[in-house]
Amino acid sequence: MDLLTVSNGLLYTAFIIYLIAVVLFAATIKDKQEEKKFTLLNKVAISVTILGFIAQAGYFITRWLVSGHAPVSNMFEFVTFFGMMLVLAFIILYFMYRIELLGLFALPIALLVIGYASMFPTELSPLVPSLKSHWLYIHVTTVALGEAILAVSFVAGIIYLIHQIDQKTSSAKTMWLELVMYSVFATIGFVLVTSVFSVLDYHASFSYEVNGEEAILDYHLPPLFGPADGELLTEDSMDAVMVTPGWMHGAEAPRKLNTLVWSLAVGFVLYQLTRLALRKRVAAAIQPLLKKANPELLDEVCYRAVAIGFPVFSLGGLIFAAIWAQEAWDRYWGWDPKEVWALITFFFYAIFLHLRLSRGWHGERSAWLAVVGFAIIMFNLIVVNLVLAGLHSYA
């Protein structure tokens, strides 16, 4: 067995272990014991989480050994690493605050993140010269850790909101909360359709024109949206149902739109089915499970995670990034979309801190801000990488 197989196996193992940890954390909800007490079940749950983290760290190290560079150089590797940092950030905050509910929410998110990552090509990729710098690894790993700690603030915020928001009547707040719930389903939808059609080995190719030149576009999902003036090359495959609107430019825009629509649609179906089964809003169904939650403490964690994550993010996402850019492109800042979105994230959390410190935005407001902050981080990770491609583009 070669090392790469071992490495992939370790990632797989970590995934399973995290799943088990989720189940264990779910079991702690029923714990009748006082909140402050550290029950055996708690100890088992966190130990299993740490075990999963060690397995994933094993994946990381072995993959590094095989490829000769830190495995943070393509979408699969970076997003997987972000998932791992999310688990680490959770472990750190767990030991500071001992809130099991954090695990019940943070670990499923980490699982989703890793699941999402593995939908991208997982092969080892070679590094072009400008990426061969220790500063790159330092930069990327610090950013991932910073963003992961900031994501824990989102986790605390979302628990807070589900716990606090009145679900008796439908309101703008419940609607926004459902939108957050739906985005989880849409991510599951993405993972689901991608895996199903990948198992079915689905293929459809179109020839179309980009900037006056003939090009081939490969679909791995049935084409709901095809390229404008595209010609289907694959036999016995369905032709595109609709044509991608003309204003969507960029490399492979039709396929990206197609994937997006598939994910949103499948996510929507899943979401509606869930609501039918629950007969109430998803957040309303979760709310009674959170009886043990202590809103003041969650609010504190929401802030504390930003307080801890903000310096890490600034260091990794702006300062180390600048040092690396200075080395690789001899300019510390280039207004590349990825850089700009790191700056936006920085601005946003600066706003979060100032509103909280000087204008008393605590509790619910602060929790909503944490949700928006996480949305910005995800935007930077997904949309900027895949759509607003720049120098950092992985796709």
Partner: protein
């Protein structure tokens, strides 16, 4: 100046003070029962108390956190707009931006261009926005920092009992022994609290320095912003570029003709050539172009040591020799030379032969054209004369007209005039790669016989004296955020009353940690935990 007199101790406090500077009594009597606002320890803040002159108004505007947050929010939205379409520096350089944005992105692209969003980050309004944020940071820091510093430096140890009662963490203890108290103080000392005492009143304090965190990080930001402005001062910043062909020596731009560089050899490795690259085989199959693995220029750098005579031939003395590699620039005289780009297989020379069209086997003459500095006349012993009439280094047909789109011999095209011996008439012919067009019924035909190529290395010449300032700003910023975020300023006041002991606690953040710490400090005593009065009220 207006003052407020404390009703308990009679101290004259500056107007706007909410907690008496001397005895610590809350001065807002109307708000009994609510928690005390501990921001800036109840000091008077200039922006909150003066609003008469225009200076006051400007000061007040910039030191408002609301204004600051709005400014940052505008900068955030503006920055995001700048990423909707690529900025001008990221579009191809040989196209007209006006056309490019319209053609690529339609009507929205055109509007984007017309609004100037294609150069958003260097627009005057974006820079003004950042400057306003800078000014705001500067003013707010003085506005709040100075009073906060004074308040904490001169804080009274003995505080009015109302001060304690209106803290978030508070308790009154009746049952405790003197031993308990000693033990508590001991525990606090062990936890690195600094204890000061006055008339039996005790203040335990730690982590005060973390209160300066925001001011330190704001200072860092200001230094950083000033650093970015320095770029506009001449000589602080150089950004130049040079192509150096293999074997060629050229002057390094921005050195006043003082330094020269010779490209000994350009080396490019691509992935897939070596056994160790086998692991990437899957990924490499998915890319069309070869993926570069490493590239470098073997260079020699010379200094011109000839005396300052205008027009004198340069006299080159080698000063440095080495490789210029991506991520590892070479330094010369304060400038950095970066490996930036390359051009493989640029034509260096082309050789031609001339033949009679009736006798296609015999070369009448043979000559070589140097494509970087071509000669225009070629005369031969047998009387033939060939003139290079037109030369297009990078030939392209634009609207039916032959043109050269650059000065680099990437796709050379030639118009030759061939004059046979003792003739006045010359024949013209056009040659380019894959083309050989006579002007009419030519008797002679030119053939491309041979060519040589070489690589060209693109080097960036950089100097940025603003870097130390910017780096210093960033460093101070980091110190500031870490100092302010990873430490907290915690205080515990112990106030003996006739029959009881009042204890109150305050921290600027992380109340959970403070509560926990106090819990540990009362270990082994009869004291109970401090009550969270905010939480109690909610219930």
């Amino acid at each position: 100046m207006n003052t407020i007199k404390c009703t308990t101790c009679g101290h004259e406090n500056e107007k706007g003070t909410t907690i008496c500077k001397k005895c610590g009594k809350p001065l807002d009597n109307d708000k009994q029962g609510t928690l005390l606002n501990m921001r800036y320890d109840g000091s008077a803040i200039r922006s909150k108390t003066r609003n008469r002159s225009i200076v006051d108004k400007i000061w007040r505007f910039f030191s408002s956190v609301k204004v600051g947050v709005i400014l940052i929010a505008i900068a955030l939205v503006a920055s995001a707009i700048g990423t909707i379409y690529p900025q001008e520096m990221y579009i191809p350089s040989n196209v007209d931006p006006a056309d490019h944005y319209r053609e690529q992105y339609g009507i929205t692209g055109q509007i984007y261009y017309q609004l100037g969003f294609h150069n958003l980050y260097s627009s005057w309004w974006y820079m003004i926005l950042i400057a306003l944020i800078g000014i705001s940071i500067f003013i707010v820091s003085i506005d709040r920092g100075v009073p906060l510093y004074r308040a904490l430096k001169n804080q009274p140890i003995k505080r009015h009992s109302n001060f304690l009662k209106r803290q978030k963490l508070y308790n009154e203890y009746k049952a405790y022994s003197e031993d308990d108290k000693v033990r508590l103080l001991d525990n606090l000392k062990k936890r690195r609290y600094k204890l000061t005492e006055k008339d039996g009143h005790i203040l335990a304090e730690k982590g005060r320095f973390s209160r300066w965190g925001p001011y330190v990080n704001h200072l860092g930001l200001i230094i950083f912003l000033v650093g970015t402005l320095l770029r506009f001062i001449p000589l602080m910043y150089v950004d130049d570029f040079v192509w150096v062909r293999e074997g060629e020596t050229t002057v390094i731009p921005s050195t006043n003709q003082q330094f020269y560089i010779k490209n000994e050899e350009f080396i490019l490795d691509i992935y897939g050539d070596e056994e160790e690259d086998e692991i990437f085989v899957d990924a490499l199959q998915n890319t069309e172009a070869p993926v570069p693995k490493h590239f470098e220029t073997r260079a020699i750098i010379y200094e011109d040591v000839s005396k300052d005579v205008i027009g004198a031939e340069p006299e080159l003395k080698e000063v440095q020799r080495g490789e210029i590699i991506v991520n590892a620039p070479v330094e010369i005289n304060g400038l950095s030379l970066y490996q930036n780009s390359y051009q493989l297989n640029e034509f260096q020379t082309m050789s031609f032969t001339l033949r009679d069209i009736e006798d296609d086997d015999t070369d009448i003459v043979e000559f070589t054209v140097d494509l970087t500095e071509p000669e225009s006349d070629y005369r031969f012993d047998n009387g033939f004369h060939i003139e290079l009439h037109r030369y297009y280094p990078e030939y392209e047909l634009v609207d039916g007209e032959p043109t050269s789109i650059s000065n680099y011999p990437r796709n050379p095209g030639f118009v030759f005039f061939v004059t046979p011996p003792e003739s006045e008439e010359s024949e013209a012919s056009f040659l380019a790669i894959g083309q050989n067009i006579p002007s009419g019924d030519n008797q002679y035909k030119l053939h491309l016989a041979d060519f040589t190529v070489r690589d060209v290395s693109g080097l960036k010449i950089r100097k940025d004296l603003t870097l130390p300032v910017i780096g210093l700003g960033a460093f101070i910023f980091m110190i500031g955020v870490i100092q302010g975020m990873y430490w907290q300023h915690r205080r515990i006041w112990i106030h003996p009353n006739e029959q009881s002991l009042l204890i109150a606690g305050h921290t600027n953040k992380n109340w959970y940690g403070m509560t926990k710490e106090f819990e540990k400090a009362i270990d082994g005593t009869q004291f109970t935990i401090l009550q969270d009065q905010e939480q109690k009220k909610d219930e």
